[in-house]
Every structure is written in structure tokens, then in C-alpha cells.
């Protein structure tokens, strides 16, 4: 898999921490591999919206990658509940169902961005940088933030 210039947290230069939420173990593993190529760290995983909320509280990640169609509680509802408690939460919806109503509903309820599956690593990488904004910095070859 392609390697990317590592994206670090601006405040302390540490790897960006991710919570990956998807009912598919396969999808979670694939996203975890991508995160590794971005220089990030997997803070936690969840297979449904309910677990995502408790895992968010436990791990306090920098970024949440959240699927939409899941059992028990769907991703948009989970995103809304997380953002209600933590307005600073950065949630990126990652779903194969990418029609406009879904995207609008997700953004209105607190998600910061939307990426359609199958995920292209280069697309997700750009979205991560955009969503982190000044809170993230891309390390150069020597490892310093730029």
C-alpha cells in the first residue's frame, strides 16, 4: 500500500489517533492499514453506533471514521450523540451509500466530512488533513512538522 507523509498532531507532534467504526471487521482492518500509512495510530474500534459512543468516551480520539449502515444504532445517530456531548469531535462518515440526502443528514447532525466506499487512500488522506485543519501538520522527510 502507498505510503504518505505522516500527519501529526500540531500541538505535540504525536501521531493522530483514530477511532474506526464499522460493522465489517474487514472494512475496519482495511481502514486501520490506511491509517498506518498516514502515520496515524488506532485508538479504538467499534462495530456499531452504541459501542462507538462508549469507545469515544474511553479513547477521546482526534478523528472518528464512522460507517452509516450498522446494526443497533446507525452511524449518523451515533455521530449526532457524540457531537452533542463533544462539539469538538471530528467525525468523518465513511459509507458506500453516498446519496445527497445521506450526506446532508450526516453533515447537519455534526459530521465534518463524507467519504464514499470503496475508500481511495489518497482521498481519505486529503480529507483527514482538511478536517484536522490547523490541529494537524504534515511531517517532512526529517519528521518535523511543516
Amino acid at each position: 500500500m502507498e505510503q504518505f507523509a505522516p500527519v501529526k498532531r500540531s500541538k505535540d507532534g504525536q501521531p493522530v489517533r483514530y477511532l474506526v467504526v464499522d460493522d465489517s471487521v474487514f472494512a475496519r482492518k482495511n481502514l486501520a492499514r490506511m491509517i498506518e500509512t498516514f502515520g496515524g495510530q488506532l485508538a479504538g474500534e467499534a462495530g456499531d453506533g452504541m459501542t462507538a459512543i462508549t469507545e469515544y468516551e474511553r479513547t477521546r480520539p482526534d478523528i472518528v471514521l464512522m460507517d452509516i449502515t450498522m446494526p443497533q444504532m446507525e452511524g449518523i445517530e451515533a455521530a449526532e450523540k457524540i457531537v452533542q456531548q463533544h462539539p469538538e469531535a471530528r467525525i468523518v462518515m465513511v459509507s458506500s451509500v453516498g446519496y445527497q440526502e445521506n450526506i446532508v443528514a450526516a453533515l447537519q447532525r455534526g459530521a465534518r466530512h463524507f467519504v464514499q466506499k470503496p475508500v481511495k487512500p489518497e482521498v481519505l488522506y486529503e480529507v483527514i488533513k482538511y478536517v484536522l485543519g490547523e490541529e494537524g501538520s504534515v511531517a517532512n522527510a526529517a519528521g518535523a512538522g511543516v
Partner: protein
């Protein structure tokens, strides 16, 4: 079954398989299934409800599933690995999600249910109002079968002008 309903699934399967396998695919065969569908090997099914309802099944020989899952995950997986079933479910999820996105843009309202492993030897038989179409995709890892059994939901047809 109208082609306007089938085409988004064909396009989505072609695009998702081609991206995942990094190679083009082609349609090997397309047929109406008049008898109960006999499962080939590793299969995942997704149900949809709304203006159109029914199910779509992805099915392939075990060796094809192993090759597909290994390629998609970037590592060699043994035939017994549960990730192989997971990979086929996720493939189905991505294809159906992309097709539904396209159909939603045409005005159809859907709910997609999470994928499930299909272990029964047979699938549902086509009925008078639900025809079953089987499309065989020729890929670099083997043949991938997509079994589509959908019908327009009568109570919603008027709303979308059918």
C-alpha cells in the same frame, strides 16, 4: 425487471471490482433464473426495502473468494479465515451502496440493510412479481456471481411515477 433498475447494480459491481482488483472486469453471462438459485460457495446477501424491495446476493467459488479477499486485504489469507466471508460481505455492501446511491439520484427511496452471510444451499426462487437475474462477472480472480431479485414496491410506485 427493468434495465433502469439493473444497470446501476452492474455499473457499481464493475466499478467496485475493478477498483478493488486493480483490473477491468467483463460480463461473462447474464440470465434469468427460473429455478431456485443454487449457491456456488461463499455468498453474502443484502436486503433492500423502500420504493424497490428484495435482495441482492454475491456468490463465488471458495477459491475465488480466497483470491479476492487476499487481494483486497493485501495479504495471503488461508481458506479457513473468517476474513474471507467478511470480505465478500463488504464487497456486497460497497456494490449495493453505490448502486443505491445512483438509484436514489433517480428518485427512488431505499433502506439498505447490513450484509449477511448466506449459508443456505439455495436462494429464493423467482416469483411472478419478483424475477431473479444472475450476472456472472469475469474477473482476474475468477467468476463473481451477482444474483438480483427485486421488485417495485406497489404502494410506493405512484410516488415515483411508475
Amino acid at each position: 425487471m427493468k434495465m433502469e433498475l439493473i444497470q446501476p447494480f452492474i455499473n457499481a459491481a464493475d466499478a467496485v471490482l475493478a477498483q478493488g482488483l486493480k483490473a477491468p472486469t467483463s460480463i461473462e453471462n447474464l440470465s434469468m433464473d427460473e429455478e431456485a438459485y443454487r449457491r456456488k460457495g461463499v455468498a453474502a446477501v443484502i436486503w433492500v426495502s423502500g420504493d424497490i424491495e428484495g435482495h441482492i446476493m454475491f456468490d463465488m467459488m471458495p477459491q475465488t473468494a480466497v483470491r479476492l479477499a487476499s487481494l483486497l486485504s493485501g495479504m495471503e489469507l488461508p481458506e479457513t479465515d473468517t476474513m474471507i466471508w467478511e470480505a465478500v460481505c463488504e464487497l456486497a455492501n460497497q456494490v449495493i451502496g453505490n448502486a443505491v446511491t445512483s438509484l436514489n439520484d433517480q428518485g427512488f427511496q431505499f433502506r439498505v440493510h447490513p450484509p449477511a452471510v448466506h449459508t443456505s444451499e439455495h436462494g429464493a426462487m423467482g416469483t411472478e412479481d419478483i424475477e431473479t437475474l444472475v450476472i456472472a462477472f469475469n474477473t482476474t480472480v475468477g467468476t463473481v456471481y451477482m444474483n438480483i431479485a427485486l421488485r417495485y414496491c406497489q404502494k410506493n410506485q405512484a410516488a415515483v411515477g411508475l
